[in-house]
Structure formats: C-alpha cells, structure tokens
C-alpha cells in the first residue's frame, strides 16, 4: 500500500470508532486514575491490511533463518555457558508476553479513547506472536542443542522455581491490580520502553558473540514490533497526565515500576550478559556501560526527563540509586553469585569463571577480584562431586541471604536490608523502596488517599517456606529438576556432561535440611530479630559474614 493511501486508510478506519447508544460495555477492570474523554491521536498509523502480510513476511524470514542454522550446524559453535542461561530466560519470557496481550483489554476498559484501542488490539496480537515465537525457539534449542534437560520441562520448572517466580512479576504485574498501574505504567512505560526495549537489544548481540545467531533473529523480529507498544504507552501516559488528580498516583507507580524493573531485570539480564558470555574482549561493553547508555542516557534523560514539564514527577533519586546499586554496590555480581550458590535449586548448568573472566571483570569493574574472586575460585574447586557438598553447604564465607518479600530477589546488598512486620508477619526487604512498595504503595489507602483498586502482593513469596525442614534431595525431586535416569540432577555447577562428574540426588541426601529464613525470622524474639538485623547489615560484600571485631 502506498504511503499516501496508508494515511487515508488510517483516517478511514477512524470512522469505526464506537460511541455506545444502547448499552455501555461492561467495565470489568478498574483504576483509581481518572480520564477525561479526549481526542488524543493514535500516534502510529497501523492498518491490519498491511500488518498481516508484514508480520507473515517477517515470520518467513525467521523460520528461514532457523532452517539455515540447522543446515549450518550452528550448535557446533554455540557456547554452552550462554545457552544454559537461555533455559532460564526462555522459560520465563513467554508468560510476560501473553500477559502483555492480556493487559490490553484492561486498557480498553479504562482509557476512554477509541482511537487508542486499535493500537492496543494490534499490540495484543503482537504479544501472542512473541509468546509463540519464543516457545518455538526454545523447542528448536531443545531439539538441537546437546543438553535438552531444562528445556524439555521448561514451563513446569518455571512455574515451580524461585527464579521463575521472580520473573513472574514481569507478567502478573501487567495484568493484576489497578489497570493503569499494571498495563500502562508498569508494562508499557517502564518495562517495555526502558528495560526490554533497550536491554533485549543487548541480549542478541551477546548471543551472536557466543555462536548463537538464532536468538538475534528471533528477538530482532520481536523487537521490531515494539514501535507500536511504545506509542501506546506514550499516548496513555499523556492522557493520564492531563488530569492533575492523577499525578500522585503516577508518581507512586513510576517509583514502584522503576524500582521493581531495576531489581528484576537488572538481576536477570545483568547476569546473563556478564556471567553467561565467553566473549571477554576488553572493548565489549559491560552491563554497567550498556545500562548507563541505554537506561540512564536514553531512557531516563531523553524519554522521562522531558515529561517533567507535563507534570510527571520523575524518581530522580531512584534512578541514581539504581545506578549506585549497579556500579558501587555490585548488584549484578551479587545476584550472579547467589544464582551460582543456589545452582542446585535450578534447572540449568552454571559454568565457573576462569582467569580470563577474572581479568575482564577486574578491567571493567575495578576491585571485582577482591570482592568476588576468592568465592568463584571456591566455586570452581567445588564444581564436581568429590566427597564434599555443593558450595551452599560448604564453608566459603558466604551467609545464605534472606529473601526480599517484594521483589523476591534475595537481600544481597546486606547493608540495605530492612525489616517490618506487615500483615502480621515479619518480612525482610532488600531495600527501603521494596519495603515501601509492599507496606505503603500496594494498599487501599496511599498517603491518605483512597486507592480502592490498587492491587496486593500475595502468594508464597519466599519459596524456602514450602520446603522448610526438607532434605535437599526431596526438594529437588519434588520440583522435578531431575534427569531421565531418575537421579542425575538437571542443574550442575559446571558444564561437563560426563555422567561421572554430574551431581545426583544421592549427593543431595547427605546435606542438612533446607530451612526457611523467613520461618526462622518469625520464630525469633524481638531482641533476636534486632540482633539478626544488626548483624545482617554488617555483612558483605559478596555475602561475607559480618566482621567479628566490631
């Protein structure tokens, strides 16, 4: 279709806009935001007549590339270190995609602007596409990569694993609670525009450097649909901003969404990119460098800050704080170390770091070796079973962390951990902002204002609770992270597939029971709890126990 006729076509389909005459549509989803009917234009002109052939053509190229990868024996040069992390990533990401699809009708219900509903409906179809294209990529990995374990039971794993649960915020957060908080601010304004759009750009490049050129193909094709989603987010935000009563809620939601995205996405993508790669060229950008460029410069400074003049209160302090966490407090390194500590509760294999890795980390993050080097040397030393326990049960000066009730990543920057008794239960939080999120933001009253539609944080948010007192072998088999011989574990702390070097349930059985930090916290007396917190805050970095001299 020519451009001119496209513009005319787009104009024509606006005649379809519906003004109810006999029955108002049922409004299932609710928001505390208020919207005036407004003729905000759909900024992106999209007509389905050109949309379907365009997507079909993209699909054909994706599937052509997949054929090519198989024909070219791509997996002979894929780095296992990298592909193992895809067992986690690709188990998580299809749910966020369909959740984004589900969130679009929530916006129809609350945003009174028929012109935007078209764009939202197309986004819904895009998201269905993304979910299935990703399930399909994972299927291809399962069929062609050396180790299918972890891919073949992917969605079961995802649904019962703590990492999967952390990732689920990035799905349930889009579709539950206040419709605008969820589907607009959390999903389109922060998650899609800042974090996925920018950092998912980094993943394909890293995949290619590790011999995998299918992930770039699939994710570039996914990424090329984002333009619509970014426009949708923008248009809704501008409508929300036009009513001054919304500003307090926008400020709340931007703080929550920004911080939660930082906690979750930086943890996951940061680990994949820094610890999942074999590419240690010094001029390869580190995650911190990418973050500075894409999140800080591009998203924060060039997308968010200009909105300040429309009355949006930008969480400047939290942007700076997130950077401090990444650059000074080693957030990504602490998370990767924790993932590796807890390898046995997962469903992928985690490679040890080598001297070449150490050199790169030290170059990119001066002081890295002093903090994390020794621990990773211990990790390598304890990698294959040889009469010892997995690293979590060995003395390597690492204190097993408590879990953050809000973001569900453990409280790894120990000095920042805070506690509060909320809903009759003592909870630990990794940071004051996560405490605020649970104790203040997700409540029916916020700063004295009624917020009857705000969501709640629910569920068994600390996974260890479910297995309190269990033997580790039973934990692992209950979760299903066992290979088809019935005893070898899916997860391994190394990449050697020699069955003699692999950990089995028998090795797990020799360990002490798994105890839930939260159950224990709630059994403490007040004095014990205070002492626990004082000690915890003095721990670290790298999970070291508190110095005994003070």
């Amino acid at each position: 279709m020519s451009r001119q006729s496209l513009a005319k076509a787009h104009q024509k389909i606006q005649e379809l806009a519906w003004e109810p005459q006999y029955h108002e549509p049922y409004m299932k989803y609710k928001t505390d935001y208020t919207f005036r009917k407004a003729a905000k234009k759909d900024p992106l002109k999209q007509v389905l007549r050109s949309y379907f052939p365009m997507e079909e053509e993209k699909d054909n190229r994706v599937y052509g590339a997949q054929d090519g990868a198989i024909r070219g024996n791509m997996f002979r040069q894929v780095q296992e270190r990298w592909l193992e992390w895809q067992k986690l990533f690709l188990s998580i990401i299809p749910l966020p995609e369909i959740s984004a699809a589900r969130s679009m009708p929530m916006l129809f219900h609350v945003v009174p602007n028929p012109e935007l509903h078209n764009g939202q409906a197309i986004q819904m179809i895009d998201e269905v596409r993304h979910s299935t294209i990703q399930q399909n990529l994972k299927r291809l990995y399962m069929n062609n990569y050396i180790d299918p374990a972890g891919f073949n039971n992917s969605l079961r794993n995802f649904q019962s694993d703590y990492c999967g649960t952390i990732g689920r915020q990035f799905a349930e957060g889009f579709i539950t609670g206040d419709a605008i908080t969820a589907a607009s601010i959390y999903l389109t304004i922060v998650a899609e525009t800042a974090f996925t759009n920018t950092l998912f750009v980094a993943m394909p490049a890293e995949a290619a450097a590790n011999g995998d050129y299918l992930l770039p193909t699939v994710f570039h094709s996914v990424q090329s649909d984002e333009s619509r989603h970014i426009s949708n987010g923008y248009a809704t935000l501008l409508m929300a901003l036009s009513d001054e009563d919304n500003r307090q809620l926008l400020e709340r939601d931007l703080r929550y969404a920004w911080w939660n995205n930082h906690r979750v996405v930086d943890a996951a993508i940061g680990t994949f990119i820094e610890y999942g790669t074999k590419d240690r060229r010094k001029d390869r950008e580190s995650y911190a460098e990418m973050w500075r460029r894409w999140i800080y410069d591009d998203y924060y400074r060039s997308y968010l800050v200009p909105l300040e003049r429309y009355g949006l209160v930008i969480p400047h302090d939290l942007v700076e704080e997130a950077w401090t966490q990444i650059w000074e407090k080693g957030y990504v390194h602490e998370v990767a170390q924790f993932f590796a500590t807890g390898w046995l509760a997962n469903y992928w294999r985690i490679d040890a770091m080598t001297d070449e890795d150490f050199e790169w980390f030290e170059y990119k993050y001066p002081g890295w070796y002093d903090r994390y080097g020794k621990w990773w040397e211990n990790y390598a030393r304890l990698a294959t079973p040889n009469g010892h326990h997995p690293i979590v049960a060995e003395d390597v000066d690492y204190v097993y962390p408590h879990r953050c009730w809000t973001c569900m990543v453990p409280c790894l920057v120990r000095e920042d951990m805070v506690m509060q008794e909320v809903d009759g239960q003592w909870r630990t939080y990794c940071h004051e902002v996560c405490r605020w999120t649970d104790a203040e933001a997700f409540r029916p009253v916020y700063q004295g204002r009624e917020t009857p539609n705000m969501g709640r944080l629910v569920g068994h948010r600390e996974w260890e609770t479910l297995y309190h007192g269990w033997n580790w072998a039973d934990v692992v088999s209950d979760m299903g992270f066992v290979r088809d011989d019935g005893k070898t574990m899916t997860a391994q702390p190394h990449l050697d597939l020699d069955p003699k070097k692999m950990w089995t349930l028998d090795h797990m059985r020799r360990m002490g029971p798994l105890l839930s930090p939260n159950v224990i916290l709630n059994e403490m007396t007040d004095a014990e709890r205070d002492a626990f917190k004082a000690d915890y805050n003095r721990q670290g970095p790298a999970g070291r126990s508190a110095p005994s001299d003070a």
């Binding site: 990424q223 090329s224 649909d225």
Partner: protein, 347 residues
Amino acid sequence: MGDKHVVRFEPVGIEIEVDEDQTILRAAAEQGVQLMHGCKEGQCAACKSFVLEGEDIELDRYSTFALPDFEREEGQTLLCRAHAYEDLVIELLNYDEEIIRGGLPLRKGTVEVVSNEPVTHDLRHLVVKLVEPSEIKFFPGQYMDFVVPGTDETRSFSMANTPNRDGLFEFVIKIYPGGLFSEYLADKVQVGDQLQVEAPFGTFTLRESRTSDLLFLGGGAGMAPMLGLLRSMAERGVDRKATFYYGARTQQDLCFVGELAELAERLSDFTYVPALSHAPDDDGWDGERGLITEVVKRRESSLAGMDAYVCGPPPMVDAALATLTTLGVKENDIHYDKFTTTGEPEA
C-alpha cells in the same frame, strides 16, 4: 565533523541542521526536537519515517526486521541510524505534536535592547537581540520570561516574530501604571541595556497536522503571538483559511494595521476583522463595533471543525471560550496558553 545538511520534518514543518557524523535522531534531540524513538539501535522501528525529498542517506547497522529492504526501497528510513548526505524532507509517521514542540530546550540567556517603539498610546514594540547563548530556539506563538531589572521577579511575553538567524526577538507589551516591567519599559529602558531571559515556554503553536480552518481571537497585547503565528504561516506558505478577530477600545488602540493588510495579500485566504468597543459614534469608523466576542457571535453561525487560538486579557479569554464552544469549536481545539501573558494586570 562532516558537512551539515538541512533536514525538514513534515507535516510539522520543523527544520534542523544535521552533521554528516550524527544520526538524524541525535541531531534532532540535540536541537530539542523530540521525535518518537525506542531502542536507538535500529531494531524497534519506533523512529521509522518516510523520506519525501532527497535520497543520499547512509544507515548504520540496523535490523532488517525493523526496516526490510522493500520498505527501504519505498523510501522508509530509521532516523536513529540515518546520516544525511544532502538536504532532506522527511515525513514523520509516528509522532505526537505536543511532545515534539514541548521538546525545545529551556535556556537562560542575556539579550540586548535594540529598539522600544510605541505602536499605540500604550503598546510598545520591543525588539531585543540575543547576546548569549548563541541561540534560543522557539516555535512561533511561544513566550519568553524576562527578569525585571533590579528584582527577582519575572514577567512573560509572547514573541511576535518567527525564529530567525539574527537572534532577534520582538514583543508587543502594554504599558500601564504600576506594572513592574511596564514602568521599566516606559521610563528607564535604553537601547543597549541588557536583560536576563529564559525561553521558550508555552504550547500556543500551530498544530501542523491539521488542515481545518483557523480562527484567531485577540485583544490588546494578545496581538503578539497572533502576529507570530500569522507571519509564520505566510513565510511557510500555509494555505489554511484564517480569520483574525482583534478587539480594541478605539481606533487609536489599533496597531500593525499596515502589516496585517500586507499579510492578507501574502496569505491565500486571510480575513482581518478589527472591532472597537468604545469608539465614539462620530469617529468615522466603518468597521465592527462592540465587544469582540459579540462580533464573533454576530458574524459566525457555526465554527464546528475549526481550530481556535485565543490570547488577550483574562476576561476576554473567558468570554471567548464560552462563545467559541457555543459556536461548535471542540474544547480540545481551542488553544490558549494560561501563561501567555498579555501584559495585563501584572499584580
């Protein structure tokens, strides 16, 4: 640094200069033009646009999912990856006009008074020239804040002219007793005086994507932004039908009569309707009489579908809003900037 080329964006009519070494998106951002974009890596397609004129463009590495070959051949491009090697005209496919215009960087600066001529008994035509920085960009119809010399107070005045390379800014300011800036303007100011300013502010700008007829309604120093918009339309050959209702008390309150007549020649379909509210019966005035809003009501039966721009003393603005909505202008299509001062009451 490479050579520079002019890139013009349609349908918003904004021009920027782009160095060959920069991407067009980057150059736009540096010059305060906020274009819709996402990844800036040539992957998300949010900045995809259509090249109307010119073809010498080089693209940095990009994803062919974001810009397949057939679209590139059709003339589409990705602004975040595109370098211009000649002057270009680019049609934006994905943009929000308000945001594009909101994007000009706010700058503080120093200006020097060039002239300060009376155009009526109580209106001054103030012209200043920028000393530093070398440029403050604005869109016709926007306004500037002046620090009143010797105080911490600022006063806002709309530009009456269009952006120009000489760094000149023109204003129409009403002098009345007791006004902080008025008194300074009336009694103290000398050519060559320096003033501290900050600009640009306001959204009293033409919505370029629209083709509907235009109605301007002004009074007093509300002349200034109207002149800015009309001059800009004439310079750019915008051929939308336009009517300018201007309210004044008596004939001696009318100004820029010659220029408005000249604009009527240059614009394809422009009518200027001055109306006097306090003209003596015997002064030979053969034009409209009465409050300007009453005149509009008399002359227009329906204004449905039109875009209206209103600027004047607050009571006139209030009356105008009521009149215009009654005559069928949609609320969203009435533009008035609550900060666009007319120079009236400063207190």
